[in-house]
C-alpha cells in the first residue's frame, strides 16, 4: 500500500469535518427546544375546554401544519393507549382567523380524530393557547380533577423525534399515581401562534 499524497489526506479530512459538522448542526437543530409562556397552576376558568371532575385532564396544543408535531401526536397516542382511559384528553389546533377551516383540518387533525378518547378542538387566533402559556406546537398540560397543574412541557426528546422521552414517562407516572420523573420538559416543535415574544425554555428536570 503506497502512501496517499498529502493533498488527498487534506481533502479527505476537510470533507470529513464538513460532513460531520453538518451532522452536528442537524443534531443541534433537532435538540433545540421551543418557547412556552407561563402555564397557570390552576385550571383557567374562562376556557372552552371543561376540566374533568373525575379524571385528570390532558391538553395538547398543536399547530396543524407543523411536521414536527407528528412525533408529539404519535407519543400522545401511545400515552393515551397506556393510560387505560384514566385521563380526559384534548388536542387544541391553532388556526389563524384569516385561514379557512380546511387549513386546520389537515393530516394532523385527521390523525388526532382517529385517536380514541381524544377530543379535538380548534383555537382560532389562539386565545386558549394563550391561557395555558402554550407557544410551541406539541406543548402538553396535565391538570388534576381539582384544577391543580401536574405537568407541562413536551412529550418528545427532540424536534419531530419519536421514542422514549421524559415527558411521556412523567405523565404516565402521574396518571398511574406514581411520582413523576419530571413535571416540566422542553417542547420541540414549530412556533404555535407566531408570537414574537420569546420565552426561555424551562429547565428540564429529568430522573436519573
Amino acid at each position: 500500500m503506497t502512501k496517499p499524497p498529502f493533498i488527498k489526506v487534506l481533502a479527505f479530512t476537510a470533507w470529513l469535518l464538513v460532513a460531520a459538522g453538518g451532522i452536528v448542526i442537524i443534531a443541534d437543530y433537532e435538540s433545540r427546544a421551543g418557547r412556552f409562556g407561563v402555564t397557570p397552576e390552576r385550571w383557567p376558568s374562562q376556557n372552552l375546554i371543561s376540566l374533568d371532575p373525575q379524571h385528570d385532564t390532558l391538553v395538547m396544543f398543536a399547530h396543524p401544519q407543523c411536521p414536527c408535531t407528528r412525533a408529539s401526536m404519535e407519543e400522545l397516542n401511545q400515552l393515551l393507549a397506556q393510560s387505560g382511559g384514566h385521563v380526559a384528553a384534548h388536542v387544541v389546533f391553532f388556526r389563524p382567523a384569516k385561514f379557512p377551516a380546511d387549513w386546520a383540518h389537515a393530516d394532523l387533525w385527521k390523525t388526532a380524530s382517529t385517536i380514541s378518547g381524544l377530543a379535538v378542538h380548534e383555537d382560532v387566533d389562539g386565545p386558549v393557547a394563550k391561557h395555558f402559556g402554550a407557544q410551541t406546537s406539541g406543548f402538553v398540560v396535565l391538570y388534576r380533577p381539582d384544577g391543580q397543574l401536574l405537568f407541562h412541557g413536551g412529550i418528545t426528546d427532540g424536534r419531530g423525534h419519536v421514542g422514549d422521552n421524559v415527558g411521556k414517562d412523567a405523565i404516565i407516572s402521574l396518571l398511574a399515581g406514581r411520582e413523576p420523573s419530571a413535571t416540566d420538559t422542553p417542547v420541540y416543535g414549530c412556533s404555535l401562534t407566531g408570537d414574537s415574544c420569546p420565552m426561555p425554555a424551562p429547565k428540564t428536570t429529568a430522573a436519573r
Binding site: G22, I23, A27, S31, P67, R70, G160, H161, C190, G194
Partner: protein, 748 residues
C-alpha cells in the same frame, strides 16, 4: 493509496500466480462494489431530498411558514456527504481510500436519513443494511471504518445531546456500547462471512492457477506438436487442406499456402473453385476439375498430379491426394486432402533421365570409338604401307611414265581412306589433337578460296570477321575440318542456291547454359557461326543431328559422320557447338571456343622436301610392312637404322650399349606399348629423344587426347617426306615449335 493486495498469513504457501489471480478477482469485486456505491450514494441523496420535502416541506411560525431546514439540510449536507465518495468511486475505483470514504459517507448518510425521518426506528435499518452492502468489498477494515463512525456518532451525541440518543438528558457512558453492540453484532458475523468468502476466493484462484498451468502445458504441447507438424510438412513439402463443401469454405496449412504461392490472407473468403482456377496450370485445369468432380460424384479417394503457376511466373509440380467425407445420407460433406510439392523430385527424375541418356550416348560413342580405333589402327598401318610405298615409287618414277597416273590415283584413294579413318577417330574423340594458339579469322580466311570452290557458284559466300577477335587454342587442322563439314552441309541445304555466311565474334557468356548434355560455363569465348539460307531442320532432325551415322541425305550421298565429327572435335577442344534452325528458315551453327590471351603460334611451313641426316635411329614397329617402309624411307635419307619388332626386342639393343640419336616407336604394340618402352629406355639412355607414331593411341600417350609439351608424335598414315621432316625437326631440337598440319579431306 494503492489498490488492494491480499497477503495471507501463510504467504509462502501460495504461489505468486495464485495470489495474482486472487487479487485480480478481489480487485474486480472491489471496483464493482465501488460502482455500485457510486449510484447508491447518488440515489440516497435524491431520496433524502425527496424524503425531506415529503415529510417536512415547511416549518411554521404561527401563520407564517418557511422552507423547513430539513429540506436545506437534505440538499446541502446530502450533497457534501455524497460528493467525496462519488468522485472517488468515479475517478479512482478500487483504491483503499475510495472504499473507506464510501463506508464513512454511507454511515453519515444513515445519520442524515435517521434525522430526516425523526429518528424512526425503521430508518436505523439503513445502518445495518449499509454494513451488509459494505461487506461486498470483502475488506474487513471497511466495516471497521463504518462501525467507528456509528460508534463515534453515538458516543459524541450521547455525551453532548444524550436525550437525542438515549431519551434522557443524562446517561451513563456505557450506554453507547449498547447501541454500538448491535452494530458490532452484525459486523462480527459479516467479518466471519468475509473471511470465509476470501478463503473460497483463494481456493478458486488456486484451482484457476492449476487450470492455467494445465492449459499452458497443453497449449505448449499443442504448439510444439504444431511446430513439429509444420516443420515436418516443410521438410516433406507436404501440406494439408480442408474443404467444407456445404459452405464452400477452404482452410489450408501454411505449407499448402507456400506450395501454392499464397500469403496467409489470400484464401480468405475464396471458394475452392477460385483457389484452383488461380493457381493450377491452365493446361492441367480441366483435368484437375474433372478429377475433383469425379471424387465428389463417386466419393472415392483421388490422386492428381498437376502443375502450379506461381505469382512470380515460376512453375512447380505438385501431387494432390484427397478423400471425400460423406454424411449419413451419403452426400459429400467435406473433402480432406494433402498436396506435395514434387518439383525437385521431378527435376531429379528428369536429370536422371538425361544422365541415363547421356550415359547411353557415351556408351554408344565409346563403343563406336573403340570400333573406330581398332579399325583405324589396322587401316592406318595398311594405308601407311600403301601410301608410303606409292609415294616412294612415285618419287622414283619418271614423270612421263605411263603408270604414274595409276599410282597417283592409288595414292589419292589411300589419302581419302586415311581421311575417312581420321574422321572415325574424330567423332569418337579418339584422335590425338595437337593444339596451338590460333586466330580463327586467319583460319577461315585461309579457307575462303577453297570454300568458294567447294560450295559452287550458286551459293553466295559472305564472311564477317570481328577485327579484334580473340585467340583460341585448338588443332587448326581439326577446326578447318569442322568449317569444311559445316560448309558442305550448308551447300547441300541450299540445292537451289542461297547465301552462306561465316561470322566470327567475341562473346561473353554470363550465365551457365546447357545444350545436348553439354554445359557452356561462364567466361569469354570466340564464336564462329556458319549460317545458311537453306531448307532448315525440324525439331526431330535437330534432336539427332550430331549422332554418328545419322543423315538426311540419300544413300551414298552422306556418311552421317560430318556433324558427329564436328561435335567430337569441338567437344574435345573444350568448346561447344549449337544449332538454331527452323524449317524453311535456314540454319545457323554456332561454335564457341574458349578465348585465350596467349600469343599466336606461327604455322609450320609445309614443304615436300625430305631433309637428310646421318644420325643413328632405332625404329620399333610391330607391323613388319610398316616398319620396312619406315626403314626404307629413312635409309634413303641417309640415316643409320636399327629396327625391332616390339619393345622387348628393342631393349636388348640399348642394353648392349648401342648408341641412338632417336627412338621411333609405334604406340600400340603387343607385350609392351611404346610408352612403356620409352619409360624403360629413359632409364638406360636418359637423353634419348623419341618420336611416337600411331594411327590410334588408345589414350596411351594422352588420356585427354591432347598431347602435352615435349612429346613428339606423328599420326599414321604419314608420307615418307613428312616422316623425314619430323625426324629432322626432332634431331635439330625444333620439334616443340612444330605443328602437325593435316590434309583437309571432305567427309560428307
Amino acid at each position: 493509496m494503492s489498490a488492494t493486495s491480499f497477503k495471507p498469513s501463510s504467504d509462502a504457501a501460495y504461489p505468486p500466480r495464485v495470489l495474482a489471480l486472487f487479487n485480480e478477482q478481489w480487485q474486480s469485486i472491489i471496483r464493482h462494489t465501488d460502482r455500485l456505491f457510486l449510484w447508491l450514494m447518488i440515489i440516497q441523496w435524491f431520496f433524502a431530498v425527496v424524503l425531506a420535502v415529503w415529510i417536512s416541506p415547511r416549518t411554521w411560525n404561527g401563520p407564517e411558514s418557511t422552507i423547513h431546514p430539513h429540506v436545506w439540510i437534505a440538499i446541502f449536507l446530502g450533497a457534501i456527504i455524497t460528493s467525496a465518495p462519488v468522485v472517488l468511486a468515479w475517478r479512482q475505483p478500487g483504491k483503499v481510500l475510495t472504499r473507506h470514504t464510501i463506508a464513512i459517507a454511507q454511515m453519515l448518510m444513515s445519520a442524515l436519513l435517521i434525522h430526516l425521518t425523526g429518528g424512526r426506528i425503521e430508518t436505523h435499518f439503513h445502518v445495518f443494511g449499509s454494513l451488509a452492502i459494505l461487506a461486498f468489498y470483502r475488506d474487513w477494515p471497511v466495516l471497521i471504518s463504518a462501525s467507528v463512525v456509528v460508534y463515534v456518532d453515538h458516543l459524541l451525541r450521547g455525551f453532548f445531546i444524550p436525550q437525542s440518543v438515549y431519551g434522557v438528558v443524562a446517561a451513563s457512558y456505557w450506554r453507547s456500547f449498547e447501541h454500538a453492540g448491535w452494530v458490532a453484532f452484525e459486523v462480527i458475523f459479516l467479518l466471519i462471512a468475509i473471511r470465509k468468502s476470501l478463503q473460497e476466493m483463494l481456493a478458486v484462484a488456486e484451482r484457476q492457477a492449476k487450470l492455467e498451468e494445465v492449459n499452458a502445458t497443453v497449449e505448449r504441447a499443442v504448439a510444439e506438436r504444431t511446430a513439429e507438424l509444420t516443420q515436418a510438412q516443410q521438410i516433406a513439402k507436404l501440406g494439408n487442406w480442408e474443404w467444407d463443401i456445404l459452405q464452400d469454405k477452404t482452410s489450408w496449412s501454411s505449407e499448402t499456402q507456400r506450395i501454392y504461392g499464397h500469403q496467409p490472407d489470400d484464401f480468405g473468403g475464396k471458394t475452392m473453385q477460385q483457389c484452383i482456377d488461380e493457381r493450377v496450370h491452365p493446361d492441367d485445369l480441366a483435368r484437375v476439375r474433372q478429377v475433383m468432380a469425379a471424387a465428389l460424384k463417386t466419393g472415392q479417394p483421388f490422386v492428381c498430379e498437376h502443375r502450379i503457376c506461381l505469382p512470380d511466373g515460376t512453375e512447380r509440380v505438385a501431387v494432390g491426394r484427397g478423400e471425400v467425407l460423406l454424411n449419413d445420407r451419403g452426400e459429400p460433406m467435406k473433402m480432406l486432402g494433402v498436396v506435395q510439392d514434387i518439383t525437385e523430385a521431378k527435376r531429379a527424375q528428369e536429370a536422371l533421365r538425361r544422365s541415363e541418356e547421356q550415359l547411353r550416348q557415351s556408351q554408344k560413342m565409346e563403343a563406336v570409338g573403340r570400333l573406330a580405333g581398332g579399325v583405324a589402327h589396322d587401316f592406318n598401318n595398311l594405308l601407311m604401307v600403301i601410301n608410303g610405298y606409292s609415294a616412294m615409287t612415285l618419287q622414283q618414277m619418271d614423270a612421263v611414265d605411263p603408270l604414274r597416273k595409276n599410282l597417283e590415283e592409288t595414292l589419292k584413294a589411300g589419302e581419302r581412306a586415311s581421311a575417312l579413318t581420321r574422321q572415325l577417330l574424330a567423332f569418337s574423340r579418339k584422335q590425338v589433337l595437337q593444339p596451338r594458339v590460333l586466330d580463327l579469322n586467319d583460319v577461315v580466311g585461309g579457307m575462303e578460296k577453297m570454300l568458294r570452290r567447294l560450295i559452287g557458284e550458286h551459293v553466295e559466300l559472305h564472311t564477317a570477321f570481328e577485327t579484334a577477335l580473340g585467340h583460341v587454342k585448338a588443332d587448326p587442322g581439326q577446326i578447318e575440318q569442322v568449317i569444311l563439314n559445316l560448309a558442305i552441309n550448308a551447300r547441300d541445304a541450299m540445292p537451289r542456291g542461297g547465301r552462306l555466311t561465316i561470322r566470327t565474334s567475341n562473346v561473353s557468356v554470363d550465365q551457365k547454359t546447357s545444350f545436348r548434355n553439354r554445359e557452356l560455363n561462364v567466361g569469354e569465348y570466340v564464336m564462329l557461326s556458319v549460317t545458311d539460307s537453306g531448307i532448315g531442320m525440324s525439331e526431330d532432325v535437330k534432336a539427332h543431328l550430331f549422332e554418328p551415322f545419322f543423315t538426311t541425305k540419300g544413300v551414298g550421298k552422306g556418311t552421317g559422320l560430318g556433324l558427329a565429327t564436328c561435335y567430337g572435335i569441338i567437344a574435345q577442344s573444350h568448346g561447344d557447338i549449337r544449332v538454331y534452325s527452323e524449317p524453311d528458315q535456314g540454319t545457323t551453327f554456332k561454335i564457341y571456343l574458349p578465348r585465350t590471351n596467349a600469343p599466336l603460334e606461327p604455322p609450320d611451313p609445309d614443304a615436300e622436301s625430305r631433309p637428310d641426316g646421318t644420325e643413328s635411329l632405332l625404329v620399333v614397329e610391330d607391323d613388319r610392312t610398316v616398319r620396312t617402309m619406315i626403314v626404307t624411307a629413312l635409309e634413303q635419307c641417309g640415316y643409320q637404322i636399327q629396327e625391332a619388332g616390339d619393345g622387348m626386342e628393342a631393349l636388348p639393343l640399348l642394353e648392349q650399349g648401342n648408341s641412338f640419336d632417336l627412338l621411333i616407336t609405334d604406340v600400340i604394340m603387343p607385350r609392351m606399348s611404346g610408352k612403356e618402352l620409352y619409360d624403360e629406355v629413359k632409364k638406360i639412355s636418359p637423353g634419348l629423344k623419341v618420336l611416337f607414331i600411331s594411327g590410334y593411341t588408345d589414350d596411351v600417350l594422352a588420356p585427354t587426347g591432347v598431347l602435352g609439351k615435349g612429346i613428339s608424335f606423328l599420326e599414321k598414315p604419314f608420307s615418307p617426306a613428312r616422316l623425314a621432316r619430323k625426324v629432322r625437326e626432332i634431331l635439330d631440337g625444333r620439334e616443340e615449335k612444330t605443328s602437325h598440319r593435316r590434309k583437309i579431306v571432305t567427309a560428307d
